[in-house]
C-alpha cells in the first residue's frame, strides 16, 4: 500500500495527482474559490509568472539560470510606455519593448556562452544593470500611460477570458511544442543532460544557450508589456523578486535544477500551485506577511519531492 502510494507520488504524474487533490480540497472548503470571477482573477494574477516560466524552463533545462527576468519585465514595461507616449504609436512602443528585451537576453546569452561566465553571476549583474536603466530612464518615478488604447491589452476579453490569460495560454502551447517537437527543444534537454557529450555529438551548445537567453528576454518583454497595461503605467520597481517566484514554479513543476529534465505540463501545474496558494490565502484573509512563509515552505517541499524523485530514478 505505502509502496504504491510512493510510486504514484514520485512517478511522472505525481505532481499532477497532488495538484488535483489539493484543488479538490480547496474548491470544497474555501468559500468563493470556485467562482468564475475568482478563477479568472487567479489566472490573471499568475500571467507574469506563467509567461516568464515558459522560457525559464528552457533555461533551467539546459543547466543555466536567469536572475535578470524581474528587471527585464520592469525595464521593457517602462520602454513600452515611454516609447508609445513619446511617439504616440502603441505598436512602435510594443516593438521597442520586445527589441529591448531580446537585446538584454542576447547579451546575457553571449556573455554566458561565449565568454564562459557563470550564468548566476552574469544575470545577477544584468539584473542590477537593467533595473538601474529602468530607474534612470524614468528618474525613479512611475510613468503613466497616455493612450488609453494601451490599457485594452489588459482589460479586453475574448470569449469572456481576459487577453493576458489567452496570451499566456498560447505561449504555453508554443513552448510545449518547441520543447517536445523541435530539434531545439530536444537539444536543450541534451545540453542540460550532458553538455560535453552534446557538443561532441554535434550539438551547437553555445548558440543553443544564446538563443534560450534571447528568447527569455523576448518573453519577459511580453510579460512586461502586459504588466504595464494592467497597472496602467511603467513602474521601475515592478516585478521585484519575480525571478524567485518563476524559478520556484519551475522547480515545483519538476524541472531539474541540474538540467536535462523539464515538462511544460509540470511547469503549468507549478505556476497554478503558486497562484492558488496566494489566492486562497487572500480569500481567507491571511495577512500578506504569512504568505512569504507559505511560499517558502511550498518551495522547500517541492525541492524535497524533486530530490526524492531523482533518487527514485536512480541518478544523482
Amino acid at each position: 500500500m505505502t509502496l504504491t502510494l510512493k510510486r504514484v507520488l514520485l512517478g511522472e504524474q505525481g505532481l499532477l495527482i497532488l495538484f488535483i487533490l489539493a484543488f479538490a480540497v480547496v474548491a470544497g472548503t474555501v468559500p468563493n474559490f470556485l467562482t468564475e470571477r475568482n478563477i479568472l482573477g487567479l489566472l490573471q494574477s499568475v500571467v507574469t509568472i506563467g509567461i516568464v516560466a515558459c522560457t525559464m524552463m528552457f533555461c533551467l533545462a539546459s543547466r543555466d539560470f536567469d536572475l535578470s527576468v524581474g528587471s527585464i519585465v520592469a525595464f521593457t514595461g517602462m520602454v513600452a510606455v515611454m516609447v508609445s507616449n513619446g511617439t504616440g504609436s502603441i505598436p512602435l512602443g510594443l516593438l521597442a519593448a520586445l527589441a529591448a528585451g531580446s537585446v538584454v537576453g542576447l547579451v546575457n546569452g553571449v556573455i554566458i556562452a561565449k565568454l564562459h561566465i557563470n550564468a548566476l553571476i552574469t544575470t545577477l549583474a544584468t539584473m542590477q544593470i537593467v533595473r538601474g536603466l529602468a530607474l534612470i530612464a524614468s528618474d525613479g518615478r512611475a510613468v503613466g500611460i497616455n493612450d488609453s488604447g494601451f490599457y485594452s491589452l489588459s482589460l479586453s476579453r475574448f470569449l469572456g477570458v481576459p487577453t493576458p490569460v489567452w496570451v499566456m495560454g498560447v505561449l504555453f502551447v508554443i513552448f510545449a511544442f518547441i520543447l517536445n517537437r523541435t530539434v531545439f527543444g530536444r537539444n536543450t534537454l541534451a545540453i542540460g543532460g550532458n553538455p560535453e557529450a552534446s557538443r561532441l555529438a554535434g550539438v551547437d551548445v553555445d548558440w543553443g544557450r544564446i538563443w534560450i537567453f534571447a528568447a527569455q528576454g523576448l518573453v519577459c518583454a511580453i510579460a512586461g508589456i502586459l504588466l504595464a497595461a494592467r497597472i496602467t503605467s511603467g513602474q521601475p520597481n515592478a516585478a521585484t523578486g519575480l525571478e524567485l517566484s518563476v524559478i520556484s514554479a519551475c522547480v515545483l513543476g519538476g524541472v531539474s535544477l541540474v538540467g536535462g529534465r523539464a515538462s511544460m505540463s509540470g511547469v503549468i501545474v507549478g505556476v497554478l500551485i503558486l497562484g492558488i496558494a496566494e489566492n486562497v490565502m487572500n480569500l481567507l484573509n491571511i495577512q500578506a506577511f504569512y504568505q512569504y512563509v507559505v511560499r517558502g515552505l511550498i518551495l522547500l517541499l517541492a525541492v524535497l519531492l524533486d530530490n526524492l524523485r531523482s533518487r527514485a530514478l536512480g541518478r544523482r
Binding site: 530539434v183 530536444r186 543532460g193 550532458n194 552534446s198 541518478r315
Partner: protein, 507 residues
Amino acid sequence: MAFLEFSSISKSYPGVRALTEVGFSVRNGSVHGLMGENGAGKSTLIRILSGDAAADSGDILIDGERQRFASTRDAFRAGVVVVHQELQLVPELSVAENLKLGRFPARGGIVDFAALFADVGKTLQSIGIDVDPRAKVSILSIGERQMIEVAKAVMTDARVIALDEPTSSLSSRESEILFRLIDRLRDEGKVILYVSHRLDEIFRLCDSCSVLRDGRLAAHHETMQDLTRDRLVSEMVGREIADIWGWRPRPVGSTRLRVDGVSGRHLPVPASFEAKAGEILGFFGLVGAGRSELMRLVYGADPLQGGTVSVDGVALPHPDPRQAIRAGLVLCPEDRKADGIVQGQSVEANIAISSRRHHSPFGLLTPRREAETADRFIETLKIRTPSRRQDIVNLSGGNQQKVILARWLSEPDVKVLVVDEPTRGIDVGAKSEIYDILYSLAEKGMAIVVVSSELPEIMGIADRILVMRERRIAAEFTRPDFSEQALLAAALPDRATPAAANIQKAS
C-alpha cells in the same frame, strides 16, 4: 621474514575477473616492484591494499597478522599509506598545514603556527626534503608536491607505503630526489610497494619484484640479480592470444583521413598520419601517451594550434565537432560516461541526437522516423535494452557503446570512424560483437581508427599500428610484423638498457 604478504587474493567486478589468486610477500626494509600492463590488475591490488575495495577471497597479512580493511581508514590505522597518481593536497594551504591537516598544534582552538612550522620543518629536514614548510602548495612543482605526499606517508608512521606510478609526471631530476627518499625509507625498515611500468626505475630502485598479467601473478623475483629487461617484458606480455579477434584481410583503398602536423595544448609536437578506406589503423601507447589528445584534436573537440585535418582530400575549414561530423569524420570518445552518452535521455534520443538534422524540416522532429531508426539499430547492432524509450544510463557499458556507434551509423555518409578505447569496461562477448561491427564498416570502405591501451586487442584487430610515446608518434608497425615485445618496447618511455641501469644502481 615476510612483513607484507598477499595471500591468494581474488577479486571480480561484474563481467571481469580482475585478480585471480594473487599471492606474494615483501620483506621488511625493501622496495618491491609491481609491474604489469594496463589492466593487468595492479590498480585493483593497490585498491585492496588501501582498503578502497574488498577482496572476494584471500588475505592481506602485515607482520604475520591478518588484516581486515573495511575502509581506507582501517588500512591507514594499520600503517598502510598509498600515494596515488592524483595528489591529495590542498593547494591554498601551506606545506606544513597540509602535512598536519586535522592534527594542528593548537591552544584553545587557535593554531600555534610557530610550533607547526618548526615541527614540520624539522621533520622535512630529517627526511631530506628541501621545501619551506610555510610555502603554499600551489607554488610548488609537481615533483615537490609528490615529495610532500610521500612525506605525509612518512609522518604518519606508515609501515607499508605503496606508490602508484609516482614518477609519471616528474622530470628526471625530480624523480632522482624521490628515489633518494625511497632509499632512505627502505633503510628505515619500511616496506615499499612500487608500482610502475618503467623498467629502468624498477632496476634502479627495487630489491625484488612481481609481475601481474591478466589478474594473475605471472612471475615473482626475490632478487633483481640476473634479471634482464627482456625477460621482464616477456613476462609482462607473454600470453597466448586466443583468436577472439577474428581478423580477416580486406581490400584497402585510397586515403580517406589525412592528418598533417596537428598540434594543440596537450600535444605540443605536431603529429601526422593517414588512414585509408577499408583500413583499421590502431593507435597503441601507455596511458598518458597522447593518443586520446590527438584524436580529440583531429575531431575538433579541443582547439587546434596548428596543422590540418582532411577527409577525402578536403581540409576541414574550422575544426570543431559539428564540422567534422558534416565532413563524415566522427568520434566515439574514450570516456563514454562524461563525453558520450546524454544521461536522462532515452536510447532513441541518444541515437538521433546528431542525425535527426537530416530529417527535421524547419527544426521539427519526425518522431516516427527516429523510432524506426532506433529500432533498426537496436536490432542490427544487437543492443540489449527493454525498449528504445529506456534511459541510456540503465544500459550496460557494451550496449551504451553500441548506442554511440548507432548514433554515428545513422549518419548517412560516415567516411572516417575514430573509436577511442572501444571496449573499455566491456565484457568479452560484447567485445567481439563490437569488433565485428568495426570489420563490416571497414569492408564498406570506411577508414577506422582504433585507440586502445590493450596490446592484445590492438594487435588482434588492426591492420597497421602507430605507437605513441610521450605525446608523439614514435613507431609504426604493419601486419603481420606485430610483436608484443617490439610494440611495448616502442611504447615504454625509458630507453636505458638494463645494464646501464644496473651500473647506475651500483654506483
